[in-house]
Amino acid sequence: MKFVGKAWKFGPNINTDVIIPARYLNVSDPKELAKHCMEDQDPQFVKKIKRGDIIVADTNFGCGSSREHAPIAIKAAGISCVVAKSFARIFYRNAFNMGLAILESSEAADGIGEGDRIQVDMTTGKIQNLTTGMEFQANPMPEFMIELLNDGGLMKHVMKKIRSPHPS
């Protein structure tokens, strides 16, 4: 599982209200949520990004409420992956459960600049800055988590299992 895209940098403690302001929580359609992703930090964000781009952030990304809308909004906006120094605990679970790929790496977060082209390989944990040639190593993602992300999140993963039960 590999992603290539332009890096969009964010600082520490980006909370769920920045990711998707509470005033838009009256809808649950991912496309609607995506329109307002990061709006309070950068109103042009969704217009500027291209499908497959990557968010690179500092520590405690996704802190605040337990809303699952936050990873849904990021994913639906077209972001392929979030690399951060660390993630808030509930966001970490919600991201995988909603099928948003995330990876922790302090070195990468420091060594990537706004606008750099980067490549993230979830399977090996390798993050390459294609602009500067620098390489970083995060923890590789185990097979079952790649599968869960490929299926589009936890419940979709479970649904697939129900439909094709393999003997175990």
């Binding site: 605990r89 679970r93 459960n97 923890n139 079952f144 479970v158 299992k161 439909r163």
Partner: protein, 420 residues
């Protein structure tokens, strides 16, 4: 590689010989728990996914305890979703009024959760069962739905913090005071993501009730789980309750810890957590004049039989101050029965206490003792966030059962020693 008890239980449940902190694993779940607040959402997800049966009707546990006896029409509807699902799925551990108690007191008591288990619950205080030497952690409703269907769930192996307690506890000091003191020391995010392992000579002598109380509040320090290595005290508690085999795990002496802290408990006095969070603790001698309107003794933290005995020792022959409402809630029907048989009810009733049916009730401001604006309560519960027990401008102070009882008698927060 040397491992902690948490790492060993997780490794065992994902079929690996070792796991490291930070590693993502897919693990088998022994028990998956939901209540009347969280299970309805999980049941909806279960149905949406097209699932037909739960993975094991003995291992999916549904406990309507938060707003029962049904507080109002919406709570009744929530409970009905549980009831109908439990019937259709022939869930073994679903309990109706008269048999139901607060989940985290009921499950250990009935031997549903056992040492060495991996337990997930859609309730943050699921970590209570770590007192038995199991890995137990709170999850969201989506996670519960997935676990109900597949019997497995993914986890990130936490780092472990070790807390060593030594020395003899003072009179009127118990598990609640040790955990409040610890949270006061490290703060409400002091153990974020981490396993909190409680050990040392004091813990080795701590009865099961106190161990469950300590593990119960691990989440109040941000912990993923709290855990105490099982021993003879555990065996005595579990034998006679367990209806399936269980296993004891323990940490290797060379296991790696993110941090180690030591406490000489002989210096710890009864603790009181001031609003607005459980980390805002003070020793009882430092609290000054805090008048109260209500005292609540109960909850999954301190509603067990031993807690009621402690309260009765203070209340015997005394009465609650005329301006104080004293509410006592035995956490389960069998605690209720035992308290009645042992004469505790007589003491409580003579102290002008009201005895509630087993329920979460006022702990989450649900019913049976909510606070008005500006009112203040002392409670043996685990959270004193703004508005948790009622009006946003009411206040909650957390303590052990003896301090709560003594404070009810005095009308202001005080040590039981002050009554002698």
């Amino acid at each position: 590689m040397a491992m902690t008890i948490t790492e060993k239980i997780l490794a065992d449940h994902c079929g690996l010989t070792e796991v490291r902190p930070g590693q993502l694993i897919n693990a088998q779940v022994d028990i998956a728990l939901g209540n009347d607040v969280t299970a309805p959402i999980a049941i909806e997800e279960f149905k949406k996914a097209g699932a037909k049966r739960v993975f094991d009707r003995d291992r999916v546990v549904l406990i309507p305890d938060h707003f029962t006896p049904n507080k109002d029409i919406p709570s009744a509807e929530q409970c009905k979703i549980l009831r109908e699902f439990a019937r259709a799925q022939e869930i073994t551990h679903y309990y109706e009024l008269g048999e139901v108690g607060i989940e985290h007191a009921l499950l250990p008591e009935k031997g549903i959760v056992l040492p060495g288990d991996l337990v997930i619950g859609a309730d943050s205080h699921t970590c209570t069962y770590g007192g038995l030497g199991s890995f137990a952690t709170g999850v969201g409703s989506t996670d519960l739905a997935a676990a109900m269907i597949t019997g497995e769930l993914w986890f990130k192996v936490p780092e472990t913090m070790k807390f060593i307690y030594y020395g003899k506890m003072r009179t009127w000091v118990g598990g609640k005071d040790l955990i409040l003191y610890t949270i006061g020391d490290i703060g409400v995010d002091g153990a974020l993501y981490k396993a909190m392992e409680f050990c040392g000579e004091t813990i080795e002598q701590l009865p099961m009730s106190g161990r469950l109380t300590m593990a119960n509040m691990a989440v109040e320090a941000g912990g993923k789980n709290g855990i105490i290595a099982p021993d003879e005290i555990t065996r005595q508690y579990v034998d006679g309750r367990a209806r399936r085999p269980y296993r004891f795990f323990g940490s290797d002496p060379e296991a790696h810890y993110a941090e180690v802290r030591e406490y000489d408990v002989s210096t710890i006095e009864p603790q009181v957590a001031f609003p607005p969070d459980p980390g805002n603790t003070k020793g009882i001698s430092e609290i000054g004049e805090v008048h109260i309107d209500q005292a609540v003794i109960g909850s999954c933290t301190n509603g067990r039989f031993e807690d009621l005995v402690e309260a009765a020792r203070v209340l015997k022959g005394r009465k609650a101050a005329p301006w104080v409402r004293l509410i006592i809630i035995p956490a389960t029907p069998s605690i209720y029965t035992e308290a009645m048989k042992e004469g505790l009810f007589q003491i409580f009733l003579e102290a002008n206490a009201v005895i509630g049916p087993p329920t979460c009730g006022p702990c989450l401001g649900g019913h049976m003792g909510v606070l008005a604006k500006g009112e203040r309560a002392i409670a043996t519960t685990n959270r004193n966030f703004i508005g948790r027990m009622g009006h946003p401008e009411s206040e909650i102070y957390l303590s052990n059962p003896a301090v709560a009882a003594a404070s009810a008698v005095r009308g202001r927060i005080c040590s039981p020693e002050e009554l002698d």
